[in-house]
Amino acid sequence: MILQRLFALVLLAVCAALAVMAWPYQAAFSYEPVGPRAYPLLMLGLMSLGLLYLAIRPTPIVHKEDEPQLDRESLIKIAACVGLLIVLAATFESLGFILSAILVGLPMARLYGGRWLPGAIVVVGMSIFLYWLFDRVMDVPLPLGLLSALEN
């Protein structure tokens, strides 16, 4: 309940900030009666109304049976997983696809309860296979990064 109120209020603040951001949007010259400002403002306005209602009268969250309560441990794991995904995004081009996939995939396999050796085999094999599959077979270009020195 309290989380939901907090979320609604935060999103409400975001809406307000975006509305302020949208205020100066005006076409330099225009042939149409509705400018670029009206539609986003309309959507933000409607969303704010909905959020305001949600903040005042939050609807109860129905928990599924198989959904365990969030504890500290899970939260740390989730933060770690997000961190790994950010590392993946940051190293994707500089290290190249294969290396960054291994760098991120291995700790991620550990995070989900895998052991080092099987995890390493799966992740390394899969990164190379996926690179071959997408880059060579399916023509989806992927960065080679550091490994490009090995080419030729």
């Binding site: 989380l3 939901q4 979320f7 975006l18 949007y25 076409a27 330099a28 225009s30 042939y31 149409e32 009666p33 509705v34 670029p36 539609y39 986003p40 959507m43 933000l44 969303m47 909905g50 959020l51 209602y53 949600l54 609807t59 969250i61 129905v62 198989d66 959904e67 365990p68 969030l70 899970s74 989730i78 997983c81 997000v82 995904l85 950010i86 993946l88 995004a89 940051a90 994707f92 996939a101 991120v104 995939g105 291995l106 991620m108 396999a109 550990r110 989900y112 309860g113 895998g114 099987p118 995890g119 799966v122 992740v123 899969m126 990164s127 996926l130 997408f134 989806v140 270009p141 992927l142």
Partner: protein, 504 residues
């Protein structure tokens, strides 16, 4: 007669060896994707968009591939709900009710093949309905001007909330988030940069694939993290793999009834497979009365939701193809794919590119037949896939998702954006917000704004144009009905509670 000759032409397209192989590959990929926890039809179709594009498939083959993946995913989701009692997505919740008890009784193979068969009949009924009604609707839809389109889209959004049932407000907010997100980027009419924060990468807006994969794949990966402690053991599929004639005959009437129901529900925007399967199951349960063993492995309880899902999936393609207004999350993704090919779904599609439309319809028939046939030899292999542990699966999902996102623009900015959207999606999910309205809103948002502005340009700013024609008037009436539905439901629930209190 025209329709039949077009359909023949469509079968000509779909039965070409190249497209047959495409459809087979699609159903296989789709089944595997649908099987895996954390991946459903929406991710499956979204992941394949950049790949289909990179492969250089001609548009009709790409569309056939996506449709086959769509149906395959639905089938794959069924396998995990019957064998594991874990519904892959909301629509298959009803399947677990009778499917899992059947599997426990040693009828896993029968349950799977019967569900595929039911879904095939549902899809068949819906496809026939589509063949009959889609051209009519398309002809009628030409009368739609920008004002009517705008109202129609308002209706589609409102219908989402009206039909969704238990949480109309959250559905509505989610749809508005999507509608707003579509406004990010350069405004096509005036050239103003909106909400880009001077970031070049946002100039042409948030990429659809990035939004989908962030919302669905990344948030699902985070959700899976919570569930790693819990092991699930699949029921072994042994014994008979195929249902017999007696079993098929016993559910035939159910199939027909639920197929018609599912088609109707699928055509309505916002209703979709989840509602269709729930309504079908409840109706059949009520009709069977005390004699049925519903919940304990009744064949009818399995056939009813599956037929309805199959029918509504095909039914959902009707508004997408004829009006260009998607009715469900997956069809929203397919519209995204079509726009990549520079095809605008809508009434004119039937006239300008009949090959694509009818080829797609014909390939739905073929993909469904393939799924029934695949069930017999492949089911053991598919059940083995269910045994893949999360620690091997999740890194693969994460990395394939990253590839899918990178393939769109080849910028790492999109990867960061995907992670951000994924976190947002995770929070929204934890707070019980439905996610597919965001997608629908995102797809409809651009169209909605364009049509609104076009309509008001025609009338020179006079708002009256939005309710001047009979079509828009009646659509507004439907909007009011849809807005009233959740209120009515709340009121009925409240009065029922008061009555219960009075009785006590």
């Amino acid at each position: 007669m025209d329709t039949l000759s077009y359909l023949g032409q469509g079968f000509g397209v779909a039965l070409s060896p190249y497209n047959l192989v495409t459809a087979l590959t699609g159903t296989l990929i789709g089944t595997v994707v649908g099987l895996l926890p954390g991946l459903g039809p929406i991710n499956g179709v979204a992941l394949l968009i950049p790949i289909a594009f990179a492969l250089g498939l001609p548009p009709e083959s790409a569309l056939i591939l996506l449709a086959a993946v769509y149906l395959g995913c639905e089938y794959g989701g069924r396998i995990s709900s019957i064998l594991l009692n874990i519904p892959g997505e909301a629509s298959t919740v009803m399947t677990t009710l009778d499917g899992y008890p059947m599997a426990r009784q040693g009828l896993a193979g029968v349950a799977l093949s019967l569900s595929a068969w039911s879904s095939f009949i549902g899809a068949l009924i819906a496809t026939c309905g589509m063949v009959l009604f889609a051209p009519l609707l398309a002809k009628w839809a030409i009368a739609f001007g920008p004002a009517e389109y705008f109202v129609l889209m308002v209706f589609a959004i409102v219908a989402l909330g009206g039909m969704a049932g238990d949480k109309p407000l959250k559905t509505f907010i989610a749809a508005l988030i999507g509608l707003f997100l579509s406004a990010v980027g350069i405004d096509a009419n005036s050239g103003v940069y909106r909400f880009t924060g001077d970031n070049v990468h946002l100039a042409d807006g948030i990429q659809f694939v990035v939004l989908v994969l962030g919302l669905f794949s990344i948030s699902e990966i985070l959700l899976l993290l919570e569930k790693t402690h819990h092991g699930h053991v699949a029921v072994k599929a042994t014994g008979r793999m195929l249902f017999n004639m007696k079993e098929a005959a016993s559910v035939f009437v159910v199939n027909i009834r639920c197929g018609l129901l599912g088609f109707f529900m699928g055509v309505l925007p916002g209703a979709g497979a989840t509602l269709a399967s729930a309504v079908a199951y409840m109706t059949e349960k009520r009709m069977a009365g005390d004699k049925g063993k519903f919940g304990k492995g009744d064949l009818r309880g399995l056939a009813a939701p599956e037929t309805a899902i199959g029918a509504s999936c095909c039914g959902a393609l009707v508004p997408m193809l004829t009006l260009g207004v998607p009715g469900s999350g997956t069809t929203a993704v397919m519209i995204g794919a079509l726009t990549l090919y520079n095809i605008t779904p809508g009434p004119l599609l039937f006239q300008q590119q009949p090959d694509i439309v009818w080829g797609l319809i014909a390939s739905l028939f073929i993909a469904n037949i393939m799924l029934v046939i695949l069930n017999i030899p492949m089911i053991r292999i598919f059940t083995r896939i269910l045994a893949v542990p999360n620690w091997a699966l999740v890194p693969v999902i994460a990395i394939i998702t990253a590839i899918g996102v990178y393939a769109v623009h080849a910028t790492t900015f999109d990867l960061f954006l995907m992670v951000g959207i994924g976190i947002m999606g995770y929070i929204l999910r934890k707070l019980d917000f439905p996610l597919s309205p965001i997608l629908l809103g995102f797809i409809l948002g651009g169209l909605m704004e364009q049509n609104l502005r076009r309509a008001l340009s025609i009338s020179n700013g006079e708002l009256g144009i939005l309710w001047s024609s009979p079509i828009s008037m009646s659509t507004w009436a439907l909007v009011v009905v849809m807005l009233a539905l959740p209120l009515l439901r709340i009121w009925r629930r409240r009065s029922a509670r008061q009555r219960a209190l009075a009785d006590a």
